[in-house]
Symmetry: C2
Subunit: 132 residues, 2 copies
């Protein structure tokens, strides 16, 4: 069941910025965006991001050290994420493909490791950048 989560002031401010952004945001770019709202230090951003990631509201694009809002409204805990990243324009899309997600969630390592979480990042050229 989709539990409505309650966030603190700073957490709401950060989530709001990331949700309104067109693409992934870097932590320090979030910081510059919220300085007028009284947030002054990186710590405050990273702390909020940590909680929001835990809650599945935000994902980290590891290869870019950047953060995006979760597009899958049902993705309460970010334990199965996949993204497509254009190497040219750097546009990032969250992939929500049930088959892919199921396939990977079922995947188990030979060496007896049971996976709790995965992150998949695809790289290529998006439609627009292919043409150029």
């Amino acid at each position: 069941m989709a539990q409505t989560q309650t966030f603190s002031k700073n957490q709401r401010i950060v989530l709001d910025i990331v949700e309104k952004a067109k693409g992934p945001l870097k932590a320090y770019s979030i910081l510059f965006n919220v300085q007028k709202k009284g947030i002054n230090a990186p710590q405050q951003i990273y702390r909020a991001l940590d909680k929001l990631i835990e809650a599945g509201k935000i994902h980290k694009i590891e290869s870019k050290n950047a953060f995006v809002a979760c597009k899958n409204s049902n993705c309460e805990v970010s334990k199965a994420t996949a993204f497509s990243i254009c190497e040219s324009c750097e546009i990032v899309d969250e992939i929500s493909d049930t088959k892919l997600s199921k396939y990977l969630s079922k995947f188990n390592h030979k060496k007896g490791m049971k996976f709790k979480r995965f992150n998949l990042e695809f790289f290529g050229l998006c439609k627009k950048c292919k043409i150029k």
Copy 2:
């Protein structure tokens, strides 16, 4: 055909360290390890790593900012990588599963993006850490 690649002095030094390591190494830990060999600056490490990654000899574990030697001798260009990472002891294994690799290589985004490369990172607890 497996083309034998030739590497420069610094590239060989860095590759050697990473290949001999038991697990992923951080760039600065590589640096400290090679200072006796006359490499003094991070630049030199990062430059060597870049080339080695391009050549598929080394992969970057994005979620850890660390580098491992490629275990798949046939993986000349690192365009399809998958790793299992223990969240407790941080041990990292390169997964070489032909089916998985084929499945993901064939995967295409709805939005017309053709993928050239992917990186997949699974997280969980390894056998040893599950017991503890």
